[in-house]
Symmetry: C2
Subunit: 353 residues, 2 copies
């Protein structure tokens, strides 16, 4: 739903109720994954999509009825191979879509509170997990049931599931740890669990020539990119044709002490300069980040480790640093070095390091 998030906020601000359709189950080559959303408003106003064009027409029709009645629906479609191919998919299958009036326009104050909380989480890049009740027969949905929002960071939750909240929250946490949407059964009824993870962030220390392609690769891979370099000649936005989300012209220790460093934070150090890289490492190594990579030869890396040890950082912490960093692809150019580093970041993210 990230792709329609801003549009959704604009639609809500305009004050006119609309419908949200979300993919809750997919077929083999489905172009949109579960959790993908489409907004449908009065007058066939549409944003986003739930398939590559196979079922949008049918969904819009149903959505306009949901808008009128306020009664959510679960829609199940079979997509024939021929139809799938005609809209550019390699094969067909089954897809289910949950269609409901957007939570912001619910008559129920608890549901509106769930939405407000979710909205805050996304704004502050905090993770959240949403459980939406489905009907047991997979066709009607009990409109009186209230969704539950679980906040993995805070151990809090808001909304419905009064009678089974503990079980529901546990299932939500399991979905969060696997970062996977799913349909689960709670007390004989199905619910759709959608995980809204934090956006991964890539911290890049150093804004030299490797940083330029690295930012481009990282953004293509959906990372929020933060580039930190105290050297003004490097940290100027003009050098970047694809600009990082944040470009900070300060020393790393001026920035990182108060920075959110968590399990979705990946860090790459590129300056070769102990005056810049080392203070960053002193802070980063205090957190259990999934990836810290530092550019440089084996010799440079050995020196770096020796300096950190001398500064009193324990050996096990220092071992967190991947160095020499970068997948072994024989990288030569700046773009190739950037590629080797981002490939290693993905390997770390996907548990292949």
């Amino acid at each position: 739903m990230r792709d329609i998030w801003e549009e959704q906020l604009n639609w809500i601000n305009s004050g006119e109720p609309f419908v949200l359709a979300r993919v809750i189950r997919t077929w083999r080559s489905a172009p949109r994954k579960t959790g993908a959303g489409m907004l449908i408003g009065p007058g066939m106003k549409v944003a986003g999509s739930v398939s590559g064009g196979c079922i949008e027409g049918a969904v819009i029709e149903e959505a306009l009825e949901v808008l009128e009645t306020g009664q959510p629906r679960q829609l199940n479609y079979g997509v024939e191979d021929d139809l799938a191919l005609s809209v550019g998919l390699s094969c067909g299958g089954e897809v289910s879509v949950l269609v409901e009036k957007h939570w912001a326009f619910s008559n129920d104050p608890e549901t509106r509170k769930v939405w407000d909380t979710l909205q805050n989480c996304i704004r502050n890049n905090q993770p959240a997990v949403l459980l939406s009740p489905l009907a047991a027969d997979s066709e009607t949905v009990d409109g009186n049931e209230i969704p539950l929002l679980v906040l993995p960071d805070k151990g809090e939750n808001v909304g419905g599931f009064q009678n089974n909240r503990e079980e529901a929250a546990e299932l939500a946490m399991a979905a969060y740890s696997g970062r996977e949407n799913s349909i689960v059964e709670i007390a004989g009824k199905n619910s759709f669990i959608q995980v809204f993870p934090r956006q991964d962030q890539l911290l890049i220390i150093g804004a030299g020539h490797i940083t330029i392609p690295l930012v481009r690769f990282a953004k293509e891979l959906d990372f929020m990119t933060v580039v930190i370099d105290p050297r003004g000649v490097f940290s100027t936005p003009e050098r970047f044709d694809v600009p990082p989300d944040q470009l900070i012209s300060k020393w790393p220790d001026q920035v990182l002490n108060d920075w959110p460093l968590n399990e979705d934070t990946y860090a790459i150090l590129l300056t070769h300069d102990p005056k810049i890289d080392d203070p960053a490492l002193h802070i980063l190594l205090k957190h259990d980040l999934p990836y810290i990579g530092a550019l440089g030869s084996s010799r440079t890396h050995a020196k770096r480790c020796a300096r950190l040890e001398e500064a009193g950082i324990d050996k096990d912490s220092i071992k967190q640093i991947k160095g020499p960093a970068g997948a072994d692809i024989g990288a030569q150019t700046a773009a190739e070095i950037a590629l080797s580093m981002i490939a290693e970041v993905i390997a770390a993210k996907r548990g292949r390091l």
Copy 2:
């Protein structure tokens, strides 16, 4: 010089003589490699660069004198660490620049012929190696000497070095096979060898959702990208925010039989569809390409190999196909799969497969 190639042609078309400055020797952290070029015309008209701003001012001054006298010069600069840092380089060193009137405006018809031939090679994506005579004392250049252009593909050469052409051509071929510029000594005199390799091409069979990020990555890594897909719904330019160099809506065997397939050609097959992938493989496997990768599980790949064997292709040829293709980074999303494939292409290019 690729970055200023088009501009250079425009300047030549305008008819006004100008000077070409090329980096022929670099220091440790030099931002521009050897072969990087800058054009300097009357009225301080400038394109390209030979450093990150350290020495451009001095080079322009000398270039305007070369433009007047027609006498080429070799300039040697020491760049202090402090100056280097102030223009965004991590350290200084030495750099040499060859400054000469552009070959297109030479008084010598042989030199102009060298340029015409080089220009044709680049236009037709054929490799070429240029030897430019330097002076023995590294400071003056004998303006009467004619450069030599060697065409590795054709075993031909044009231009000067009458007395040592065989030796010069051999050194050029050695430089070409390593794809490396260098300064060599021939009969007691120095020459600068610049390799103009073919641009690597990446053939992508299939224009599905993985192709979109793959093209973006490949262009960032300087590949010429050619996408072939007979399915009209896929092979439309609107689907690509970064368009491939060529997007061809035909069956692979309609295209590849007459396509230049050589040691700079990398191929990725993405359709999963034997009707599309297999005819491409039948042709690609006849050539000794540095990389042929095919998307799909081990099971899909085993079936593919069985089909090819049944079609009479010998086992050793079939082994050229990398399958399941892609570096082992646990890729999940389309962009991650594209990343894993292009990382493997670079590994093949750099001899790490």
